[in-house]
Amino acid sequence: MTWDTVDIALMLGKIVFVFAVILTYAAYLVLAERRILGFLQDRIGPNRVGPWGLLQPLADVIKMLTKEDMIPSAADRLLFSLAPAMAALPAILTFAIIPLGAPVEIFGHKVTMQVADLNVGVLYFMALSSVAVYGVALGGWASNSKYALLGSIRGLSQLISYELSMGLSLVPVVMLAKSLSLADIVNAQADMPFIVYQPLAFAIFLVSILAECRRIPFDLPEAEGELVAGFHTEYSGMRFGLFFVGEYINIISLGSLASLFFLGGWRGPLLPPILWFFIKVGLFSFLFIWVRGTLPRLRYDQLMHLGWKFLTPLALLNILVTGWWLALR
Amino acid sequence: MTSLIPILSLLIFLPLVGALLVFALRQSASAARWLALAFGAAEFVLACAPLALDRQGTAQVGVPTGFFLYQDHGWIDRFGIRFTLGMDGISLVMVILTAFITIVAIIASWKVKERQGLYLSLLLALQGAVQGLFLSLDLFLFYLFWEAMLIPMLFLIGVWGTGRPVYSTIKFFLYTFVGSLLMLLAIIALYLMHGAQTESYTFALPALMHTTVPYQLGLWLFGAFLLSFAIKFPLFPLHTWQPDAYCDAPVAGTLMLASLLSKTAAYGLIRIAYPLFPEASRALTPLVYVVAVLGICYFAWVAFAQRDMKRMLAYSSVSHMGFVALGIAAWSPVAVSGALMQMVNHAITTGALFVMVGMLDERVESRDLSDFGGVWGKVPVLAFFFLIFNMASAGVPGLNNFVSELIVLVGVFKVAPAAALGAFLGSVLTLIYTVRLVQEVLFGKESKPTVLAEVSLREGSVLVLLAVVVVYLGVHPGPVLDLFKAPLELLLNK
Amino acid sequence: MSVPLSHVLIVASLMFAMGLACVVAWRANVIMMLIGIEIMLNAVMLTFVGGSAHWGIADGQLFSLMLMALTSAEVSLALAMVVYLHRRKQTVNTDRFDSMKG
C-alpha cells in the first residue's frame, strides 16, 4: 500500500478535526453543564460573557492561563507536574480510535472517520483507562497534603474497582461483534444495536463509566463536602485546568464509547451518520449532567459494595449467560 | 551344610528379639535383668551348638568352600545384595567369644542404677549386630552391621558414661564413621569393578575375591578398608578417640568396646581386606608393621605414665592389640592364627581387667592409683583374681596371652625379625607397667584408708568363669587353634 | 517478522540483567525488589513473544499470558505481606526485617 499526498493531508486533516471537535465540545460541555444545572436547580447559570454566556469557556481558559502556577513546598515537583497531564492525556488519546461516522469517499479515497482503526481498539481503550488512574494517584500523592492523599486513595480504589466491571461488561459486546475493533463493533450492530441483546451489560457499563468519570453520585475522590477538592486540592491554574478539561473530555469519550458499543454508534435512519453520532453522544452528556443534578452522593462503603458485590459478579454471570446463549443458539 | 534350623539367622535375631523384649519390660528392672541374662545364655548355647556339628562337611553347590554353615536369601535384588551368612572356624570362635563376653557384660551391669532395662536392651542389640558382622558373607550386609553396631554403643557411652560421656561418644562415633564411609565408597567401587568384569553385580564376598583390581586402584581401595579398620582397631596414630571412649564408658560398654568392637576390625582385616587385595596389602605391609610395633611400644610407654587405672588399661589394651595387627601383617598361617588367638585372649583378659576395675571403682568410687593400696590384705579373693588377670595380660607363661603372643612373635620372626624384636621390647614394657599396677594396688600404701567389700557371689561367678577360660586357654589352646586351621588355609592360599 | 530474533533476545537479556541488577542493588527496599522482579519477568515475556513470532505459533504468547497472571498473583501476595509487615514494623526496609539471625 502506498500513501500519496492526499492521504497524508487527509490524515492530518482528520487529526485536526478531532482535536477541534473534542476541545470545542469539552468547552461547551462545561458551559452546558453549568446552564443545565442552573436550570435543574431553578437558577440561571453563567450568562454574562457573550450572548447567553457563549463566550464563557474562552474566559475560563484565559483565567486559568493567567492564574498563579503554584507548587506546594513539600510536594514531589516532578510527579506534581506530571499528574495533570497524565489525567488529561488518556482522555484525549481515547478519541483516536472513535469512529465519528461512517467511512466516506473524498477525492476517490475511502476515508474512515476515525484517526486510527486499531484492530485491538477495545484493549486500547481499556489500557488508556488504566493509565488514567495514574493521574489521580500521582496527583494526590505528589501534593503531600492530607486531603489530596485521602482523595487520591479513594479515587484509586474506586477507579480500579469500576474498571473491572467496565471491562467485564464489554466482554459480551466483543463476543457479539467477534472483533475488538470499534469500527467492526459498530458494523456488527447494523441490524440491531447491542443494547437490545445486552441491556444488563449496558447498565453495568453505564454505571461504571459514571464512576470512571468520578461524577456524582460517584465523586468521592473529590467530594467537596469532606475533602475540599480531593486529589486536586493543591492544584491551581492550568494544572487544575488540565484535570478539569480531562474530566470533560472523559465524559465525551466514554459517552462516545457507550454509544458505539451499545447504541450502534453512527448508525441511524435518515440523518447523516455523523449527526446521529453526536446526537447519541450528546444524549449521554446530558444524562451525565442530569444525573449530577438529580442524585445524591453515595457513601464510600456503598460505592465499593456496589462495584464488588453487585456489578462485578453480575458482569461475570452475564458473560456466562451470553456465552451459553450464543453457543446454544 | 545348611541345617534345618537356621542357626545363623537365629544367632543374629535372637539377641535383637531379646533386646525388644527387654525394652518392653524395662519398667521392672529385675525382670529385665533376668530376661536379658536368659537371652544371653540362650545365645551362648546356640553359639556353641555348631561345635557339635560335623564341621568337615562336603562341598555343596553354591556354598563357598570352608563354610560348614551357610544361609543365603534374596534381599535387595536391584543391587544383587543378598542376606548371606556363613560360618567357618574363625566365625565360630568369634561368635562364641561374643556370646561369652555378652554374658559377662550382662552380669557386670547387674547394678546399673538408671534405666537398666534400656541399658541391657542396648547391650543385646549390640550383641546382635556384632554376631551379624562375624557371620555376614555379603559385603553390604557386613557394612550394615559394621555401622549398626555404632548406635547402641553411642547410647551406651553417652547415656551411662562418666566423665565427659557426650564428648567421648561423639568423638568415638565420628572417628569410626569417617573411616567406615570411605570403606563404603571402596566397597561400592569394588562392586562396580566386579560387575563390569563379570556382568554379575554382587556383593558376595567369595565372588568379589576373584576381582582383578589394578594395582594403583587396589592401593586406594585397600587404603580405605585399612583406614576404617585401623580406626576401630585402633592403630597408632588413629587411636585418639580410644582412651576417652574406654574411660568414659560404663563397665559393660568398655567391655564390649575393648573385647568385641576392636575384634571386629581385626576380623574385617583378616576376612575381607587382606584376601580382597593381596597385592595392595603386601605393598602396605611394612606400614602395618611399623604402625603395629610403634603401637605396642608407644602405648605401653603411655600406659606406664597413667595414674587412672581405666586409662592405663585402655592403653594397655590397645598395646596388646598391636600383636594382632602384627600377626595379620605377617600374613602367614602361624602368625595369623596367633593373631586370631590373641584376639580371643585379649578379649578375655582385657575384658576381665576392665570388669575388675569396674568392681574397684564401684567400691571406692575412684580409679586413681593413689587411692588404692593393700588390697591384698583386705580382700584376698578380689586381689587374687586381679593378680591372675594382670599376670595373664603381662604374658606370664601358662596363662593365655603368653601362648598367643608367642605364636605371633614366632610367626612374625620368620618374615620380619626386626618387627618381632620391636614387639618383644614392647612386651617387656608391658611387664613393667603391669608389675607397677599390681604392686601399687595390691601391696602399696593408699593415700586415705578405705574399706573394701569382698567379691559377691555374682561378681565371683563372673571372675571364676573368666579365670577358668584364662587358664584353660593358657595350658590347652590346641582345640581353638585347630578350629582356625582349615579356614586360614583357604584364606591364605587364595 | 520485522525484528530479527537475535535482537529480541539481546534486548530481553539486557532487560533481564537490569531487573536482576535492580533486585540485587535495592535489596533494602521490598518495593524496588518487586519492581526488579517485574522487569525480569517482562523480559521473559518478551522472549516468549519474540520466540512465538519467530516460529509463527501462539504457544509463547500463551505462556506470556500465564506469566502475567502469575505475576499478578505474586505481586498481590507480596503486597499483602508488605502491608502486614509495614503495619508491624513501620518500614519497607528489608534490613529491618531482622527477627531471624544465625
Binding site: - | W75, I76, D77, R78, R115, L144, L150, I151, L154, F155, G158, V159, P165, V166, T169, I170, F173, L174, F177, V178, L181, L182, L184, L185, I188, A189, L192 | L5, L9, F16, L20, V23, I37, M40, L41, A43, V44, F48, G50, G51, H54, I57, D59, G60, L62, F63, M66, L67, A73, E74, L77, A78, Y84, L85, R88, T94, F97, S99, M100, G102
Partner: protein, 464 residues
C-alpha cells in the same frame, strides 16, 4: 476427554475439589473435620494414583498420567496427609485458626499432583509456581510471630527471582526449539547456544528452589520462620517437586555437556558449605535448613550423573528424605508449646520425658546422618553408588567426607535428647493425630532402611 482419561486424572480432581470445598465450606465446619477431610482427600488421591496404571496418552492437553506421576503423587499425598495431621495439634496450640491453612495445603498438593503429569513446559512451570505460591502463604500463615511474615516475604522475593530465572530458561528453550511440548522440544543444532543458555538459566532458577549454594541464603530464615509442620512439608515436597521438574526435563532432553561443570560446582559447594554451616547452628530449624542444603547437594550429585541410576537415586532419595524430614520437623512441631521449641538446648532430656517424640526425632537424626539400618543409609548408598558408577569419584569422596562431618551435628541433637543430665520442661502428651503421623514417618524410615526392595522397584518403574 473421555471418562477413562478423567479416571487417570482423578487425583488432581480430588485434591482440587477438596481444596475448594474446604475453603468455601470451612467457615461452617469444625477444624477437626477440616483436617479429616484434608487427610482423607490426600490419602484418596495418593491411593488412587498408586493403584492406577500409568497411561502415556494426554488426557487434557498438557496432562498425562505418567509413570513418574504414579510414584510422586502418592509421595506428595503422603507428605500432605502427614503435614495436616501434624498441623492439627500444632495449630490448636498456636491458635492458628481458619480453613485457609488446610485449604492451602490441599492447593499445594493439587499443584504437586499436576507437576509430574505435565507434558509441556507451560503446565510444568505453572505447577511448580503454584506449589511455591501455596508455600509462600503457608510460611507466612502464623500471624502470632513476626518471623513467620518475614520468612514468607523473604521466601516470596527469592522465589519470585527464581521463578523469573526458571521462566527465562523455559523461554530460551522454547525460542530455541519452537515448541512447548516436552516430547518435541529437542535441541536443534542451529540453536544450540540459545538452548544451552536456557538450560543454564533454568538450572540457576532450580538452584534457588532446591536451595543449592550459592542460592541457598533464604533457606534457614524460611525454615526458622515457617510453622514447623509447614517447614516439614516445605523441606520435603517442594524440594522433591523441584527435583522432579528437573528429572522430567532431563528425561526428555538432556542438558548440554557444557553445563556439567557448573552443576558439579553447585553440588560440591552445597554439600560442603551446607554441612559446614549446619555445624555452627544452635537453632534446630536452621540446622535442618543447612542440612537440607547439603542433602540437596547430594541430590544434585545424583542428577549430575545423567544416568538412569542417578535419576532413580534422585527419586529414591527424594522419597526417603521426605520421610526423614517429616519425622524430624514433625517431632519438633509436636514438641512445641505455645512457643516454638527451637534451640537445640530446648530438647535436653526430651528423649526420656517424651519417649515417642524424642525417639522419632533421634531416629530422624540418625537417618539423616545416613547410619544403617535406617532409610537415610539406603538413600546415601544409592546416590554414591550412582556417582561412582558414573565416574564422579572426586565428587563422591568430597560428598562422603562432608556426610561424615554432618554426623556431628545430627548426633549433637541425639546427645541433647538423651545424654544430658539437666532437663528441659516436658511437653504435653502427644495427640492422636500427631502420634499417628510420627509413627507413620518412622515406620517408613525403618522399613525402607531394612527392606528397600519394593520402593526401589517403584522408583525403577517410575523412570520407565
Amino acid at each position: 476427554m473421555t471418562l477413562t482419561e478423567l479416571y487417570c486424572l482423578m487425583p488432581i480432581v480430588i485434591t482440587g475439589c477438596a481444596a475448594l470445598f474446604v475453603l468455601l465450606c470451612g467457615p461452617l465446619l469444625l477444624s477437626s473435620s477440616l483436617t479429616a477431610i484434608g487427610v482423607t482427600a490426600s490419602a484418596a488421591a495418593g491411593i488412587w494414583a498408586a493403584f492406577t496404571a500409568p497411561a502415556p496418552i494426554q488426557c487434557i492437553p498438557g496432562l498425562a498420567f505418567t509413570p513418574l506421576a504414579q510414584l510422586l503423587i502418592p509421595l506428595f499425598s503422603f507428605a500432605a496427609a502427614l503435614t495436616q495431621l501434624l498441623s492439627h495439634g500444632y495449630n490448636e496450640r498456636r491458635i492458628l485458626k481458619g480453613e485457609e491453612y488446610p485449604a492451602t495445603v490441599l492447593f499445594a498438593l493439587f499443584a504437586m499432583c499436576v507437576l509430574p503429569c505435565a507434558t509441556n513446559m507451560l503446565i510444568l512451570f505453572l505447577a511448580l509456581e503454584s506449589v511455591s505460591f501455596a508455600f509462600y502463604i503457608l510460611v507466612s500463615m502464623d500471624l502470632n510471630r513476626a518471623e513467620s511474615g518475614e520468612a514468607g516475604l523473604k521466601y516470596l522475593l527469592m522465589g519470585a527471582v527464581a521463578a523469573a530465572f526458571t521462566a527465562f530458561g523455559f523461554a530460551l528453550i522454547f525460542t530455541g526449539s519452537g515448541t512447548l511440548a516436552l516430547s518435541a522440544a529437542l535441541a536443534r543444532p542451529e540453536n544450540r547456544a540459545i538452548i544451552s543458555a536456557g538450560w543454564g538459566v533454568l538450572i540457576l532458577g532450580m538452584a534457588f528452589k532446591l536451595s543449592l549454594v550459592p542460592a541457598h541464603l533464604w533457606t534457614p530464615d524460611v525454615y526458622q520462620g515457617a510453622p514447623s509442620p509447614v517447614a516439614a512439608f516445605l523441606s520435603t515436597s517442594s524440594k522433591v517437586a523441584a527435583a522432579a521438574l528437573l528429572l522430567i526435563l532431563l528425561g526428555h532432553f538432556p542438558p548440554m555437556a557444557e553445563l556439567r561443570a557448573p552443576l558439579a560446582l553447585l553440588s560440591v559447594l552445597s554439600m560442603v558449605l551446607g554441612n559446614l554451616a549446619a555445624l555452627r547452628q544452635t537453632n534446630i530449624k536452621r540446622m535442618l535448613a543447612y542440612s537440607s542444603v547439603a542433602h540437596m547437594g547430594y541430590l544434585a550429585l545424583a542428577l549430575l550423573t545423567g544416568s538412569r541410576d542417578g535419576y532413580a537415586a534422585v527419586l529414591l532419595y527424594g522419597a526417603i528424605y521426605t520421610a526423614m524430614n517429616l519425622a524430624a520437623f514433625g517431632a519438633i512441631s509436636s514438641l512445641s508449646f505455645e512457643e516454638e521449641r527451637e534451640q537445640i538446648t530446648d530438647f535436653t532430656g526430651i528423649g526420656f520425658s517424651a519417649p515417642v517424640r524424642g525417639g522419632v526425632l533421634a531416629l530422624a537424626m540418625v537417618s539423616l546422618a545416613g547410619i544403617p539400618p535406617t532409610a537415610g543409609f539406603i538413600g546415601k548408598f544409592f546416590i554414591f553408588y550412582s556417582a561412582l558408577k558414573s565416574g564422579l569419584i572426586a565428587l563422591a569422596v568430597i560428598g562422603i567426607l562432608s556426610a561424615a562431618a554432618s554426623a556431628y551435628f545430627y548426633l549433637r541433637v541425639v546427645a541433647q535428647l538423651y545424654m544430658h543430665r539437666s532437663e528441659a520442661p516436658a511437653p504435653k502428651p502427644v495427640g492422636f493425630a500427631e502420634g499417628l503421623a510420627l509413627c507413620a514417618a518412622s515406620v517408613c524410615i525403618l522399613v525402607i532402611g531394612v527392606y528397600p526392595g519394593p520402593l526401589l522397584e517403584m522408583v525403577e518403574s517410575a523412570l520407565r
